[in-house]
Each structure stands twice: as structure tokens, then as C-alpha cells.
């Protein structure tokens, strides 16, 4: 950084980087057109600077290093521009569902090239996370539509795109041949006209060379293939030996063997697993090391664990999609955001459903009568009811299978993870492992999962909404909070309302996409309630000893109901129902379980205020 070859404030490289960085930021902010222009501007600037420099200065004045970096930057910008140009036509022809450019590996490369990208994370930010995770109605209120499975899949692949991938021999040869051809064309152009023999000889020699290259490459590739195949078989045998024992093997065992062979293969190609295992061996009890290893594993898209994760995610997404896509998600809304619109929200335009859905039977049921009246003769009320109950049954059934699939998937991931790293097979490391796997696994799935839960629990959510409509402005006392537990004079709170801190915390629940994190949010909400309660009580009776007045469930539940009412988020009903399915039993006995149970109880009470029947 010491070479100030070009004077005047900022060096051109810095300016170029600034420009490129601005473009990257625009792109991250989804401002595609502006990003596109900014990238072009960067390229423009770079070529202009280089041109001026080359013309005005004698040779060698500009440090070669800088030129190289400038050029690399320009190249990266050009790549983005190209991908935009490609994208544009795609978007125009296919759909608008995909609001974001796919892979952004250039961020990583740009970093190497010249510190353009923010240095926070060395791995590419998982794009789909951002797209799918902000279903928060608290945030922007607009739920993005769900991506068709194919695009979901592409995204996953883009995420695992490895910039450093080596070329195969054939690819290498074809590159070489292209260069040869270019040289040949250049030479040909320099030939004086009429030199037919020389031209023919050049052409022949080119053809010969190209052919040779290809033949050699083909042979190398075959040899490589054979070697890989041999290795694969050897590793598969090794894997089989490890699981030897039982005579008959189930398909699951078969799969596990295959996966384990993949792990062995991966470990031949990569050193890091060995290094981490050695580190773990030295210091087996180190919790930071465990976390580090798991984080590293999750950042390696080519590792069999991650590949399995992607595959299972995709499978579940694919099964969720036909249903969630007609989601009720964009329909029932945050009550806070729609104060002036009391109409029951159910007329969101149904988005087009793909014809190739894997659940045709369900699709038929889900040509939902609530969204679009069935064509043909109007069904009688009986038919309607029957159809509805059929639909409901099918949905519930589907939900059940999906929940089972999710549990199954997480189990499989955990067991492969422990198989790959036996050092993680201790109680505490396993917990960390499971938590991390779940976090990664649920991130893109929670929103569509929730949409399904919301469909199934629609009645309950509507009852909740009705309860909120009736009691939104109720004072704590109206829902049974003991007088000593809220300030009798509202002015004492200076513009806020009682238990506001807890309400605000609870409203954050939808932000997270992982069950464990959501559960923590509920725990924080209840703790805040206790803190507020304590505060209000001492406000009224400063002399009472703290322990005698500690609140029990008799006090807690009315307050929690009040907080739930004020949060005005009907989807809490479905979120909690989903949490109950996905939280591990181990947690259900402790504080977390208690908080979730209390929350459900309070929600159920709010539903009953709105005329909902008890659902259990």
C-alpha cells in the first residue's frame, strides 16, 4: 500500500474500488438497475484511468501490481454486468419471483483482488436465507412469495458454487485449443495474400495439434476416472467394513454406507477434517473448538453432510411448495399494520400454481374454495362443508408427514455428522451439533413450513384475531391482571403502556428462522414480564420483601395474555404450534418448555375471547 505512484488524494485503485464497492452494495440492496450502471461506471473509470496513464507517462511509471489489480477489478465488474445481461432476459421470460441475482462468488474473489467486499464473512452470504427469512410481518409487512422449487434448488447450488474448482483435463485442453486457434487466426491474418500453401500447412498443423491435445486430454481424463472409481470402490469397501455385522442391510444402512464412503472420499481430497480431528483430540473438552469445527463444517458446501442437508432441504421444500405457495401468509396480516381495514382478509390474489406439483391430489383439494370459487355449477352448502373438511383432513395429514420428514431429516443429518466426526459424539458436543444443524436446516424452510401450519390452524388464528379486535385496547385489569401488577395511573409510564418491553420482545419472534432461537425469544418475553411485574409492584408497595411477592402462574398467565393481545400477531398461534413439533423433548421439561406451554395457554385464552373453541 506504500506505492503512491499516482498522486492527488486517492489513488485510482482506491477510487475504482470505491465505485465497485458502491455497486456491490447496490446489488445487495436489490437495486439492480443502479448496480448494473455502477458496475459499468467502474469499468469505464478503470479503462479511462489506465488509458490516460499509459498515454501520458513513460513506461514503468505505474506500478505493475496496481495495473493488474485494476484490471482484475474491471474483470469482476464485467462479470457482474454480464450476469445482469443474462438475467434480464431470463427474468423477462420466466417470472418475477426471483428478486435477486444468483451466485455472488465475485464477492469472495473481489476480496482477494482488492478488499472490495466487506470483510465480515469469508464465505458467500447465503442468498436464499435473506430472501426467505425476512417473513417478518413486524418488519416490512410484505411477505415475499415462495420461490418455485427449481429456483430454490438453483439457489442451493449457487451457494455451493466453488470458485476455485479445478478444470478437468478436457476442459483444460479445450481452453488450450481455443488459444491455439486464436494464434492461428492472428497468423493467418498476417499472411500476405496468395500464400495458399502456407495457409494450408498452418491449418493442418492447427488441426493436428488440436486433435492431439484432445486425445491426450481424453486419455488423462479416462485414467483419472478410473483412478477415482477405484478409489471410490476402495472407500466404499472401507465404509462397508465399518458397518459390517448384520447380514441383511436395510436401505437406510445402505444409504449410510454410501454416505460414509462419500465422507471418506471427501477427506482424501481435503485436509481440514484431519486437522480439526487432530485439534479435537488434543483438547476434547473444548467447547469453543466444537463450535469452531461445526461452523467450519457448515461453511463447506461440498462436504457430504452439507450436500445431504441441501438434498433433504430441497425434498421438504418441494413437498411444501404446492401448499405453501397458495399461502395464507400474505392473507392474514399484522393487525397493527391494517388498522383501517377491518374486512376479513382473504382476497389476496392467488398466485399461479405450477402444474408439475408433486402433490396432485392435494392440489386438487387445494384449489381452495376460499381463494377461488370452483368453476362449474356452484356447490351446495353441504358439498362445501364436505370439501372443506376433506381439505382440512388432507392438510393435517400432509402436515403430519412433513413434520415426520423434518424430524427424520434432522436425525439423518446429525448421525452423518457424528459419523464424519466421531469426536463430536459427546453429550454436549452433540447438542451444539444439533443446534447448528437445525439452524442451517430450518433457515430456508421455516417460512414455507409456517405457511402450512397457518393453513392448518387458520380457524385458531381467526379466533385470535377476533379476540385482538375486541380487546386490543383493554387495560391489564380487563383481562384479569392483578391490580398490584400494573400501574394504576397510566401516566406513570410516560406514553408507553404496561409490559410494553415484553410485547416488543414477543413481536420479534417471527424474525428468527430456527426453532431454538424462537424459543429463546419466548423465554425472554416471559422474563421481561417478570421484570416489569416486579417493577410495577415495588412502584406501588415499596416496602414488600421481594420474595413473598414473586409472581406465580396465577399472575403470570393473565399478564401473558395481555402481552399476547397487545402483540396482535395471529401467526403466534401457528408459530407456537410449529415450535411444539420441532423442539426437542429434552427442552420441554425445563424453563423453555414451561415458557412455551404458558405462551400456548395464553394464546388459547385470547382465542377463546374471540369465540374460538378450545382446540384440545
Amino acid at each position: 500500500m506504500a506505492s503512491g505512484a499516482l498522486d492527488g488524494g486517492l489513488r485510482p485503485l482506491q477510487i475504482a474500488m470505491k465505485l465497485a464497492n458502491a455497486a456491490v452494495e447496490l446489488e445487495a440492496g436489490e437495486r439492480h438497475k443502479e448496480a448494473y450502471c455502477e458496475y459499468l461506471r467502474s469499468i469505464n473509470y478503470i479503462s479511462q484511468t489506465l488509458l490516460e496513464d499509459a498515454v501520458s507517462k513513460p513506461d514503468g511509471e505505474m506500478v505493475t501490481m496496481e495495473v493488474e489489480r485494476m484490471l482484475r477489478l474491471a474483470e469482476q465488474c464485467l462479470e457482474r454486468v454480464k450476469s445482469y445481461a443474462g438475467r434480464r432476459s431470463d427474468i423477462a421470460s420466466s417470472s418475477l419471483l426471483w428478486p435477486r441475482l444468483p451466485p455472488r462468488p465475485q464477492r469472495r474473489r473481489a476480496e482477494k483482488g482488492g478488499d472490495v467486499a466487506p470483510k465480515t464473512s469469508p464465505r458467500p452470504a447465503p442468498g436464499h436465507r435473506r430472501v426467505l427469512s425476512d417473513g417478518s410481518p413486524v418488519g416490512d409487512g410484505v411477505a415475499a412469495p415462495f420461490l418455485p422449487p427449481e429456483i430454490f434448488h438453483k439457489l442451493q447450488e449457487a451457494e455451493s458454487y466453488d470458485a476455485k474448482k479445478e478444470l478437468t483435463p478436457i476442459e483444460e485442453a479445450s481452453r488450450l485449443n481455443q488459444k491455439l486457434k486464436a494464434t492461428y487466426e492472428a497468423r493467418l491474418a498476417r499472411l500476405p495474400p496468395g500464400q495458399a500453401t502456407q495457409k494450408t500447412s498452418l491449418t493442418l498443423s492447427l488441426q493436428r495439434q488440436m486433435m492431439e491435445n484432445l486425445i491426450i486430454a481424453k486419455a488423462r481424463q479416462d485414467a483419472l476416472h478410473r483412478k477415482m472409481e477405484e478409489r471410490r470402490l476402495r472407500l466404499q469397501e472401507e465404509a462397508n467394513r465399518r458397518f459390517a455385522g448384520s447380514g441383511l442391510i436395510t436401505p437406510e444402512e445402505q444409504e449410510q454406507r454410501l454416505l460414509y464412503a462419500n465422507v471418506l472420499e471427501y477427506e482424501q481430497d481435503h485436509d481440514w477434517p484431519k486437522l480439526w480431528k487432530a485439534k479435537m483430540k488434543k483438547d476434547p473438552g473444548d467447547a469453543a473448538l466444537v463450535a469452531g469445527l461445526i461452523a467450519y463444517l457448515l461453511s463447506c458446501p461440498d462436504h457430504p453432510v452439507m450436500k445431504l442437508l441441501k438434498r433433504l432441504q430441497y425434498r421438504i421444500y418441494n413437498r411444501l411448495y404446492p401448499i405453501s405457495e397458495t399461502s395464507f401468509d400474505g392473507v392474514s396480516r399484522d393487525l397493527n399494520a391494517n388498522e383501517e381495514d377491518p374486512a376479513p382478509a382473504s382476497e389476496a390474489p392467488p398466485s399461479p400454481r405450477p402444474r408439475d406439483g408433486s402433490f396432485e391430489d392435494l392440489e386438487r383439494y387445494l384449489a381452495t374454495p376460499d381463494l377461488s370459487p370452483a368453476p362449474g355449477p356452484a356447490p351446495g352448502p353441504d358439498d362445501d362443508a364436505r370439501l372443506l373438511s376433506l381439505e382440512e383432513r388432507a392438510l393435517r395429514e400432509h402436515l403430519r408427514t412433513i413434520v415426520k420428514d423434518v424430524h427424520n431429516a434432522v436425525d439423518r443429518l446429525l448421525s452423518l455428522c457424528l459419523l464424519s466426526f466421531e469426536c463430536l459424539n459427546t453429550a454436549s458436543a452433540k447438542d451444539v451439533c444439533l443446534a447448528s444443524i437445525e439452524e442451517a436446516f430450518f433457515a430456508p424452510l421455516w417460512r414455507p413450513l409456517l405457511a402450512l401450519f397457518r393453513k392448518v390452524h387458520r380457524d385458531r388464528e381467526q379466533a385470535f384475531e377476533a379476540g385482538v379486535r375486541l380487546y386490543r385496547d383493554a387495560a391489564p385489569g380487563d383481562v384479569g391482571v392483578a391490580p398490584k401488577l400494573f400501574p394504576s395511573d397510566p401516566a406513570a409510564l410516560q406514553g408507553s403502556y404496561p409490559y410494553e418491553a415484553a410485547v416488543l420482545e414477543l413481536q420479534q419472534l417471527s424474525r428468527d428462522t430456527c426453532p431454538q432461537k424462537k424459543l429463546e425469544c419466548i423465554v425472554r418475553t416471559l422474563r421481561l414480564i417478570c421484570v416489569c411485574a416486579e417493577e410495577y409492584r415495588t412502584l406501588q408497595d415499596p416496602d414488600a420483601p421481594p420474595s413473598t411477592a414473586a409472581i406465580g402462574a396465577d399472575d403470570l398467565l393473565p399478564i401473558l395474555s395481555f402481552v399476547a393481545l397487545r402483540s396482535a400477531l395471529p401467526q403466534l398461534v401457528s408459530e407456537c404450534a410449529a415450535l411444539e413439533e420441532f423442539i426437542h423433548e429434552g427442552y420441554l421439561i425445563g424453563e423453555e418448555g414451561y415458557c412455551l406451554t404458558s405462551m400456548q395457554s395464553a394464546l388459547s385464552y385470547v382465542e377463546s375471547l374471540g369465540g374460538g373453541a378450545p382446540h384440545r
Binding site: 420474595s547 421439561i589 424453563e591 384440545r616
Partner: protein
Amino acid sequence: MAAGGAGGGNKTYSFKVVLLGEGCVGKTSLVLRYCENKFNDKHITTLQASFLTKKLNIAGRRVNLAIWDTAGQERFHALGPIYYRDSNGAILVYDITDEDSFQKVKNWVKELRKMLGNEICLCIVGNKIDLEKERHVSVQEAEEYAESVGAKHYHTSAKLNKGIEELFLDLCKRMMETAQADEKAKGNGASQSGAARRGVQIVDDEPQAATVAGGGCCSSG
């Protein structure tokens, strides 16, 4: 965190105990008394008296108790079952000066037996014995009732700190016995007990519960 259920071998037992009782019977003070008595205030968790934990050492085995308070108000009862599912024990508190609160206990017993069968250890607790003069529930009636439903009966006073330690100790021992019997019955499946009991198990009305409903109570009002 906690591995649910009771572990085998030398592992720690984790028990869940639900606390049931009408609004003013003093169940909160009871459990606060228990948890603050031996230990200091910091053992009151951040959820105050709603959810308390206590670590014990009984006969060389470590026991972790998670005590779940439940709301006494009728309007929160719709979700009762999710509170007491997977419970190892239940403490049903009534106020000896309040006949009504004793009737409520009977309702809960019926429901618990219906949902959890005989696996749950029941304690029926007459609280406020410091107000003996105003007693409205006869000792004999209460004890007979408890016996008829396979529960144990205790008398306590949260105010005077009487009978509470015994109540919990006794309950823990019974839960340990149940867990051990469970382990034996299941062979090596002890570690699975948490998973196996996931969800609410519904059994038919116990014959004893039925007889109780028929002729257990003597006075009404």
C-alpha cells in the same frame, strides 16, 4: 440441556412436577417456601415463582426437580393437559378452610389419571393448617379420598413452614421408585423414556376414579 425423563445407571434423575390448585390456596407460597428455604433467593429463577428448579441428593442419587406452577383460574384450563403431560408428579393443593378448593382438587385428580394413567405420583396437600380453627375439610375425608385414588395426603402450612420439606422429599422418593420400576420393566430402554412418553397418553377412566366420582364426596356446598 436436560435429558428428559429419568436416566439409568448413575445418571441424574430429572423430574417434572406440576403444581395445581385454585387461586387462593397458597400454592405459590408453598413452592417458594420450599425453594428458598434451604437455598437463597437466587434460586428463584428469572421466572420467579412460576417455574422453579431444585437440585436434591437422595440416597446418593442426584435429582433435578422442575416445578411447574399452573394457573388456578378456570379460563386457563383449556390447555391444562399440555402443562401436565410428561409429568412425573403432581402436587394438588387445597385450602383446608375452603371446601370448594378441595372439590377442585378432585376434578384435577380425575383429569390427571385420565391423561397420565398411574404413572404419575399424586400428592394431595391441605395447606394453611395454621388456620386449623377455620377448617372446613375434614382430615378423615381428605385422607380417605387420597387413599381411594392412590394419592398421598399431606398437611402443610406455608406460613409456618410446616410439612413442606417432607412433602417434597416423599414425592421425590416415590418418583424415583416409579422411575426405577419403569427402567426395570423397559430393560435397557431407560434412555428412551423421554421420547416414549412424548405426547399425551389417553387411557380409559380408571375404575377407582369412577367409584370416587360415584360416592367419594359427602357434602356439597
